[in-house]
């Protein structure tokens, strides 16, 4: 990872509508290489939709998204090529239930990156060890806890050597006692310099790990800045109210 100030992901005036429901109304976000950006906001604020636009799981209605030097919203862009470099972790893990942890991690390496089976296996074992599951490689998803499944999903994304990782409420579906293990893995990743865009409700994580916090509401970015700026000196009333509600919980 090269340190630098040029953005790796640049989102410009992003709009997205589902039918008549406009979910994103002109979002602008820049993510620099090596940066951890945490997106906060109440449910329905459009943060997950925004994240899913970055690898075109949702097709933007208008606006532009650049990933490195590619405008992924341009017609001729080979989105599969882009997705190879954009790892994504889902709220519901989405492991392939018919494959073991190891096979979950090797499949795309072999089919997409055309790695040999041996190489893919080596990489997979290294990544599974990295997320603390070296002893679970032959387990099927149904034999793993939610936290373990999510860590396999992270390893699966990491095995593709992504330039950026997207986390879509990665801990929201987990029982409270399992959240910690997943967050620890994410913290480790951040420390190792991975560029991460994280949609989460974990305020502690945002405060500790984020380089940049973005607060979204109503389909637009309401406020952004360092964790200190957003958490300790919020300017917008909506941000204050949201943080207040969170604290009350």
């Amino acid at each position: 990872m090269t340190e630098g100030n040029q953005p790796i992901v640049r989102i410009e005036d992003l709009h997205k509508s589902f039918g008549t429901n406009e979910v994103l109304r002109g979002v602008n976000i820049n993510v620099k290489r090596g940066e951890v950006v945490v997106i906060l906001g109440p449910s329905g604020s459009g943060k997950s939709t925004m994240l899913r636009c970055i690898n075109l799981l949702e097709k933007p209605t208008s606006g532009h998204i650049w990933f490195e030097d590619t405008d992924i919203t341009a017609k001729h862009t080979d989105i599969n090529k882009v997705r190879e470099h954009v790892g994504m972790v889902f709220q519901s893990f989405n492991l392939f239930p018919n494959l073991t942890a190891l096979k979950n991690v090797t499949l795309a390496q072999v089919k997409v990156l055309k790695r040999s089976k041996e190489e893919a296996r080596e990489v997979a074992i290294r990544q599974l060890e990295r997320v603390g599951l070296g002893d679970r490689i032959d387990y099927y998803p149904s034999e793993l806890s939610g936290g373990q499944q999510q860590r396999v999903a992270i390893a699966r994304a990491l095995a593709m050597d992504p330039h950026v990782m997207l986390f879509d409420e990665a801990t929201s579906a987990l029982d409270p006692e399992l959240v910690r293990g997943v967050l620890d893995v994410m913290k480790d990743l951040a420390r190792q310099g991975m560029t991460m865009i994280v949609v989460t409700h974990e305020m502690g994580f945002a405060r500790d790990v984020a380089d940049h916090v973005v607060f979204m509401d109503g389909g637009v970015v309401v406020e952004e800045g360092t964790p200190e700026e957003v958490f300790d000196h919020p300017k917008s009333e909506r941000t204050k109210k949201f943080l207040g509600d969170i604290k009350l919980k």
């Binding site: 709220q91 519901s92 989405n94 392939f96 239930p97 997409v112």
Partner: protein, 448 residues
């Protein structure tokens, strides 16, 4: 034939030097033992009559008759008479068995010269294989000379199968006769017809199984192709796919069979009956399998597509490496139901004269006027369908079992929309058949 001539020649050669006045065999006949015509069946009791003319200076002291190999000739049922012109001459003789198909007759007083000797063997059983059979033998003349008796005229004996023999045996049994006193038991469960039906229906069973085993893999390929058309993003392909599926599923297979079997010859296209059956079955079943596969694929959660696509897999890779392997497991029970239906549907081809199980059964019913062959056919169908139904039940239990299922990985927090789609889809997919409904309703996606 060549052997017979050679044997006859050999006999003649041997016979000639010893005596010029050989017995002349004038007749070898057997009484018909058929209920329907004048045929003589092997393996069943009949009466074999052998006649030979002795020369004017020949008088016999012994006569040995060698009936066709495999015959059973009870010695105590052998009756010998002499005929002189129209006069019947009583002879004084004893009969002994040499072996099962050979009897030795010794005349206590040598027969009068020039007599026509008639040997009637009652309760004789000729060999079951049948064929053109004749009786040979030898005689000792009163003067001590040995005379070989060449083969006389042959009898045409119709061969009888092992099953027919068994049936014949059964029909002589007291308990079978008592059983058949009951009209119901006789019409539907006649043991003598059961044993005849089994080999014929078994033959049809193998053919029906072969038909379905050949057509099902082709149907799977057709079904998959149709399924890809139906889930394609290209409108015209989707339209063509659903047009085909709706036409095939919206018309009876029976009608499709008629159109194929009577229509193609009118166009001058003549295809072997079995081949055409396989083609029709594949094309028909492909449409049903298409809907089964589509239901299976659409029961896989959206998250699976998204996960695969987010890893950089293209649509085809996602389909073949992620979705189909999972969908396939889920549709195995429904596919098995479809296999059962297709297997049963082979019976429809009886209507156009394809020799399958019902046709074989019907041919026996046509000659016996008895329903038993259909019952035997029913049992042969069950031989396949019951174990498969059992398999479906076991497999469904396994899919429903959380330790084998994929509850955690497979469920997304927002599958409500998909589930609705599945439900309507699954309702539209099956043929109107209870098996289908039970099988499809157990797709794991619909249980949530």
């Amino acid at each position: 034939m060549a052997l017979l001539i050679a044997a006859a020649l050999a006999c003649a050669l041997i016979a000639l030097p010893s005596s010029a006045q050989a017995l002349e065999v004038t007749a070898t006949t057997a009484r018909s033992n058929s209920d329907n015509d004048n045929s003589i069946y092997g393996g069943m009791e009949t009466r074999v009559t052998w006649e030979a003319q002795t020369a004017s200076d020949e008088s016999l002291s012994t006569l040995t008759l060698d009936y066709p190999d495999g015959s059973t000739i009870p010695a105590n049922q052998v009756k010998v008479t002499g005929l002189s012109g129209l006069n019947r001459i009583t002879l004084d003789y004893t009969v002994a068995s040499v072996d099962a198909d050979t009897v030795a007759i010794s005349f206590n007083t040598p027969t009068q010269a020039g007599l026509l000797i008639r040997v009637e063997a009652s309760k004789a059983v000729l060999p079951a294989e049948g064929g053109s059979l004749s009786v040979s033998g030898s005689a000792t003349l009163a003067n001590g000379a040995q005379v070989d008796i060449p083969n006389g005229p042959a009898m045409n004996v119709v061969g009888v199968s092992v099953a027919q023999q068994l049936s014949n045996k059964l029909s002589e049994q007291g308990w079978v006769q008592a059983w058949n006193q009951n009209r119901l038991l006789h019409m539907f469960f006649d043991p003598t017809i059961i044993v005849i039906s089994i080999p014929a229906v078994f033959h049809g069973w193998l053919l029906a199984l072969l038909m379905v085993v050949c057509s099902f893999p082709i149907a799977i390929v057709i079904g998959l192709l149709l399924c890809f058309l139906r889930i394609s993003h290209v409108g015209i392909l989707r339209f063509l796919g659903s047009l085909y599926v709706n036409i095939v599923r919206g018309t009876p297979l029976f009608l499709q069979i008629y159109i194929a079997f009577f229509g193609l010859p009118l166009l001058g296209i003549n295809i072997d009956n079995y081949l055409l059956s396989v083609i029709v079955m594949s094309l028909n079943s492909g449409a049903y399998l298409c809907e089964i596969f589509r239901a299976g694929i659409e029961s896989i959660s959206k998250g699976q597509f998204e996960a695969a696509r987010s890893l950089g897999m293209n649509a085809v890779q996602t389909m073949f490496f992620v979705i189909i392997p999972q969908a396939f497991r889920r549709v195995i029970p429904t596919m098995t139901s479809e296999f059962i239906l297709l297997y049963k549907d082979t019976s429809l081809f009886a209507a156009v004269g394809v020799m399958e199980m019902v046709m074989f059964a019907r041919s026996i019913t046509a000659t016996t006027g008895n329903m038993t062959p259909y019952i035997v056919a029913a049992l042969f169908y069950l031989l396949v369908t019951l174990p498969l139904t059992k398999f479906i039940n076991i497999f469904e239990k396994r899919l429903a079992d959380p330790s084998h299922g994929h509850k955690r990985g497979g469920s997304t927090p927002s599958p409500a929309r998909l589930t609705d789609e599945e439900t309507t889809l699954l309702e539209s997919a099956p043929k109107v058949d209870s098996e289908h409904v039970t099988a499809t309703s157990s797709l794991p996606g619909t249980q949530a």
